[in-house]
Structures are given as structure tokens and as C-alpha cells.
């Protein structure tokens, strides 16, 4: 029952606060068993669990909890799962105090045609302002753009751009200061997504 991906209701009872007490667990959403067959799902849920561990203990994070619940409920489709995971990483960055400002261009203030992100400031950059430094900027996939209202469509390259974007800031701002790197599960998830995309592209062409 206590598997990553499952939702349980836990009731703790003890006579005094300092007692070890006893937990009574009831499974509410037992998703783990449905995920075991799909490599993207097991890698993804393991990565989500390791991200959730970055939050301080005994500290409520209602928005992240709700987002995690929605993410896990919609994990069957590989592409949708990938988009959810990038969005979750972005939300984790914000929750940990390193949120990216993707609403307007950090250089000019315009809110249209935002296709880059500055790796230094984490602010969005418009196509025109970013063109001279395009090789040094990270790409902002349309599904993360507030201008596009987080549209649901994406191409394979968008997913790769999304993982590069969130991966860069997670590593620099969160993981490296703690002496950690990206989890193997994250690499496994990205590889599973790439493999699935290659296979589905070969089938459609």
C-alpha cells in the first residue's frame, strides 16, 4: 500500500504526543499497480517522489499536493505525462523559492512572442530581444508560455526543451547546493519518453 503513486488516508493515534503511537492506513487511490507495466510511469512516479522529498517535512504544501494528485491521475499517455512532469518541476521550483517569471520579456517587458528563458535570471525573453544570444538562452516551450495559456499541444522538441529548462534551474538552484544531482529516474523517464516518441513517429510516417 505504501508505494509511490498511491494515495492513502492515515490516522495516527497515541495516548500522548511523544508516544510512537499507531497508524491506521486506508488506501484511497491505488495507482501504483496500474503503473508497473509502463517504464515512463514507474520512472516518472519515482522521480516525482524524489522531487517531493525536497520539500521540508511537517510543512503543508497544499498546491503542490493538489498538482501531484492531478499529475498522477493523468499519467497513462506518455506525452501528457511528460508535459505534466515538466509543469510539476516548474511548480516545485516556485514552491522552493526559485520560480521563473515567464509572463513578460526580462529585457523589453513585452508579453508577446516569448520563446527563450535567460539561464541567469530565469526570466522569459522575447524572440526579438533574444535573437543575438539565442545560443546562450534556454528555449521556452509553448506549453509553458503564459501567452499561449499553457496550451495542451506540443511537439517532441518542446518536451526536450521543457526538461532542459526545468532541469537547468533545478540543478543550479536546488540540487547542487544540497550536493545532489538529477535522479536516475528522471533520466530514465526522459529516455522512456524519447523512445516512445521515436516509435510513434516511425509508426505514423
Amino acid at each position: 500500500m505504501l508505494q509511490p503513486g498511491n494515495t492513502v488516508r492515515a490516522v495516527w493515534r497515541a495516548r500522548l504526543d511523544e508516544h510512537l503511537g499507531m497508524y491506521q492506513l486506508e488506501g484511497l487511490r491505488m495507482r501504483a499497480a496500474t503503473m508497473l507495466d509502463a517504464s515512463h510511469a514507474v520512472y516518472g512516479v519515482t522521480h516525482l517522489a524524489s522531487l517531493a522529498r525536497l520539500l521540508p517535512e511537517r510543512d503543508p504544501h497544499q498546491e503542490i499536493y493538489d498538482l501531484l494528485d492531478r499529475t498522477l491521475d493523468d499519467f497513462d499517455d506518455v506525452g501528457v505525462a511528460a508535459v505534466h512532469l515538466v509543469r510539476f518541476e516548474l511548480a516545485m521550483l516556485a514552491e522552493l523559492g526559485f520560480g521563473l517569471d515567464l509572463s513578460s520579456c526580462a529585457a523589453t517587458g513585452v508579453t508577446a512572442d516569448l520563446i527563450y528563458v535567460s539561464p541567469k535570471s530565469g526570466g522569459a525573453v522575447s524572440r526579438q530581444a533574444g535573437e543575438p544570444w539565442r545560443d546562450r538562452l534556454l528555449r521556452l516551450p509553448p506549453f509553458l508560455s503564459t501567452e499561449e495559456n499553457g496550451r495542451s499541444g506540443w511537439a517532441d522538441g518542446d518536451l526536450r526543451d521543457g526538461f532542459e529548462l526545468t532541469g537547468w534551474f533545478l540543478l543550479r538552484n536546488v540540487l547542487e547546493p544540497r550536493g545532489q544531482g538529477h535522479s536516475d529516474a528522471r533520466a530514465g523517464f526522459i529516455a522512456a519518453v524519447a523512445k516512445y516518441m521515436t516509435r510513434s513517429n516511425a509508426l505514423t510516417s
Partner: protein, 201 residues
Amino acid sequence: MPSAVAGPEIERLIQLLARLPGLGPRSARRAALHLIKKREALMAPLTAALQVAIDKIEVCKTCGNIDTQNPCTVCTDMRRDPSIIVVVADVADLWALERAHAVNGYYHVLGATLSPLDGIGPDDLAIDTLVSRAHQPEVNEVILALNATVDGQTTAHYITDLLQDANVKITRLAHGVPVGGELDYLDEGTLSAAMRQRTLF
């Protein structure tokens, strides 16, 4: 109130016994008392058996099993089917499968399963030797007998990816209704998995 009821030697024995799986301080105290009462009949033979185990037990260089010979008894058993390698996480799993007489192949003990949450990565498992064994021409099937947990199946998928270029069939244990299990007590995920993996009857 006195803090200890026996000398330091006995307290040390109790502390060490309490580290064994399934034993707490109270049960360790009972076990220690039992050993002391049966010093000649039990304690001395147990001490001798432990010393022999320390001196002789080795990890099999082929499969990772533990035994008093290297290669282990399983690996030197010529009656086994050399075309099958059963991959397990731990020696306890190997012993469980052997108790069940479930398969007549050879084994490979990984040592653990991948678990980023516990800091266990691919380098901590005996995966390189498995890949090398799976590429041997006599091997036709690799059975992934790993736990039906997220960690176990993450490991199974990881190994499957690594064995893509080996000319072997990769199978894994079925997931679903346990023998003696009643459907209305099973969680929906297990029921879905069982339904997906239903077989002809």
C-alpha cells in the same frame, strides 16, 4: 533504580541480539537468557556455527548468492537449465524461489533494487555482470523475478533497456490475484493488472 540488571558482557550480548531482524530489546533479553541457560547445548554450538560461517561463507563471484563454496552450489549444479537466468533482488528471494521449486535455471542476485529515495543507483547493483552473463550464447531467457513494487519494476525496466541488444527473451513474474485472495479485498490497481494479464482457461 538500577540501569542494568546484568554485567556488561551479558548486556552486550542482549544489545547485539536486539539488532537481529524481528527482535527488539525485550525479545533479545529473552533470547539471551535462553542461550545462557542452555550454554552447553545451544550457546557453544551456536558460537561454533557462527565462527564457521564467518570463516567460510563467501559471495558467489558468478551469481551473487552466498554459500560456503565459490562458485556456489546453485552455479555448480549441472542439472540446471543453462538457458535460463532468474534475476532476483536479494539472496532471500533466491532461497524463496528454491523452496518453491519454481524454476530450474540459474540465478543472478542484484543485491537490491533501484531506489533514488534511498540513494541506491545502478552502480550499487550487480548489473554489469548480469549483462555480461545474458550475452553468453547458451542463455535464451532472462526472468525478472523482482518485487511488484515501484522500485522493483523500475529496476526491471532499467535492466530490460540494458538487455535490448542481447539475444534473449526477457520475461517477468505475473502480477495479480494471490492464491487464497478474495477479489473484494484486492485494490483496484491489482485487479486491473490481473484482468489485463488474464490467461486462457
